[in-house]
């Protein structure tokens, strides 16, 4: 069984990987070479919340996540959403400096690893994704 929208899953997965990668955050979010547009925390938020995977991932089971991944995403949301509500629109560096950020990174990294492992396993199958997976649903 595959999810209906693999492209959406890709976006969610990439957002999780960004969120779970402290090294990338240091290099691109805290770097003095600011001025780049490298995917920032807003990108991550869009990838997780505007795709409606968070705050309630169970609604997206079969769409872009599997049911056994819901718990990981719920755990992440339990830490991430209150932090967003608390800090809101401060610079990314303030998020990274927050005491609970390391837990966000840990949970996001864990979720990313699980999703990635699932996708790698799916990719090793003979006919992993149908040709219509990336078709434009509007045309």
């Amino acid at each position: 069984m595959t999810v209906r929208f693999p492209a959406m899953r890709d976006e969610v997965l990439f957002a999780l990987e960004l969120l779970g990668d402290a090294d990338r955050q240091r290099r691109f979010w805290l770097s003095p070479e600011a001025g780049r547009s490298y995917p920032d925390l807003d990108w991550v938020i869009r990838g997780l919340f505007d795709t409606v995977v968070l705050p309630d991932p169970v609604l997206q089971v079969g769409v872009c996540v599997y049911d056994d991944e819901v718990g990981l995403l719920v755990d992440l949301n339990r830490v991430l959403e209150p932090l967003i509500e608390q800090l809101d629109d401060v610079p990314d560096a303030e998020y990274v400096a927050h005491p609970t950020w390391s837990e966000v990174v840990r949970l996001a990294g864990l979720a990313a690893a699980v999703l990635r492992a699932r996708d790698d396993a799916e990719a090793s199958r003979p006919d992993p994704v149908g040709p219509d997976a990336y078709a434009d649903p509007h045309g």
Partner: protein, 415 residues
């Protein structure tokens, strides 16, 4: 002979009925206070509805004001919750007052009936004592026949009347006890309701305190949160006052205080009226707070729209996408395709100091069928896993479409 026989035998006469006091309190005043509480609760409910409808109408009219509208969305939700909560608290108090008034009225009616009956029983007892005394005085051998255990029909009749009198006096005493119990139960019910109402609004006060602490660094939403707090705190004052009444006059320990406690609780309605309802304070304050919220919201929206440019933006979107919702993080607004085909649109306000020039102005993120649409209207790569850091940097840059450009597109996702 008959008179002699009537004097024979002991006759046990019951003690007189106890002194009776009608449970004090003004049931009519309590009912009137309940009506005012209900009117205030209805006013709060109406204002809650108006606030919600007004927020809906702002969105329906496709007005947009970035930070102000997002903050308004948040604060109106909280303010509406406060209004609803306080309305429910007042309705609870009103219900308790009605119950109290009904029980008090019943108890007072019972007590009045018992008092009338007690007066009658006292007269009966006096007459009985007089008849016994008359029988004793007509005894031909005082102390001889009347002090024996012998019974005659006359002494049996006297004793029978005395026994009936004892039963009636016991019934009157029970009626008094019932009246007192009714009143005590009404007090306790009212006290519980007041406690519950107080706890509801204490929760609201705690929320307000947390909100104040949480917004110390949030200046953009300050106005609206202040309005919300005004509503919330004003109603909390009411609840705290109700709590005073509950603690001052309706403490459950009055269970042991019999009628003395009833006399204190009898003032509950007048105290409520004097402290909180005499000037329709609650309804007036709620209406005023709501009026301020609506007026300031509209003013802020109109000030920031600069002529309502987002009306044009919203008009580009399919009707089925609805009014949109505040986006997570920041003061953006987003619309999501209801069919779940992966399309959405998000508009973020510009951040003047942002290192990326495209993020210094109001900008749009366009996603059509899971594809990012770039500034030039092109589909951007979604296979982020395959991109280098430089390509990701470029991808992130291109997906910020200045709102002013997007507004010139032929539709929401095609340039």
């Amino acid at each position: 002979m008959t008179a002699l026989l009537e004097q024979v035998g002991p006759v046990v006469v019951p003690p007189p009925p106890p002194d009776l006091r009608e449970p004090p309190g003004d049931a009519a005043a309590a009912t009137a206070a309940a009506r005012r509480c209900l009117a205030a609760a209805q006013a709060l409910h109406d204002n809650q509805s108006r606030l919600t409808e007004h927020a809906g109408s702002l969105l329906a009219r496709r007005l947009w004001c970035g930070a102000a509208s997002a903050a308004f969305q948040r604060s109106r939700t909280e303010a509406a919750a406060w209004l609803g909560n306080a309305g429910r608290a007042l309705a609870l108090v009103a219900t308790a007052l009605v119950t109290y008034a009904q029980a008090l009225e019943q108890a007072q009616g019972l007590a009045r009936g018992a008092a009338t009956r007690a007066d009658d029983l006292r007269q009966q007892r006096s007459r009985l004592l007089a008849e016994i005394e008359q029988a004793r005085s007509s005894d031909p051998a005082p102390g001889l026949l009347f002090g024996t255990a012998a019974f005659t029909p006359a002494t049996v009749a006297l004793q029978h009347r005395a026994d009936l009198l004892a039963d009636d006096i016991a019934a009157v005493a029970a009626a008094v006890e019932t009246a007192q119990a009714l009143t005590r139960r009404a007090e306790q019910t009212a006290a519980s309701a007041f406690d519950e109402a107080t706890s509801m609004t204490f929760a609201a006060r705690e929320r307000a305190a947390l909100r104040r602490a949480g917004r110390s660094s949030d200046s953009s939403a300050g106005t609206w949160l202040d309005v919300g707090e005004l509503v919330g705190l004003g109603l909390i004052d009411l609840a705290l006052g109700v709590a005073d009444v509950a603690q001052g006059g309706l403490d459950p320990v009055t269970d042991a205080a019999e009628l003395a406690a009833v006399s204190r609780t009898g003032t509950v309605a007048s105290r409520l009226g004097a402290r909180f309802l005499a000037d329709d304070t609650v309804a007036t304050a709620a209406a005023e707070a709501t009026r301020l919220a609506e007026g300031e919201a509209l003013a802020a929206v109109e000030a920031e729209t600069g002529g309502g440019w987002l009306a044009a933006a919203r008009a580009k979107l399919p009707d089925g996408w609805g009014p949109g919702t505040p986006a997570s993080k920041g003061n953006g607004f987003r619309w999501i395709e209801p069919e779940g085909q992966g399309s959405y649109l998000r508009i973020d306000p510009g951040r003047p100091g942002h290192p990326d020039v495209l993020q210094r102005v109001d900008h749009v993120h366009v996603r059509q069928g899971f594809s990012r649409i770039g500034r030039g209207g092109q589909r951007l790569s979604d296979r982020t896993a395959d991109l280098t850091d430089a390509e990701l940097d470029e991808l992130a840059r291109l997906e910020h479409v200045p709102l002013s450009e997007w507004l010139t597109w032929k539709n929401w996702w095609q340039r």
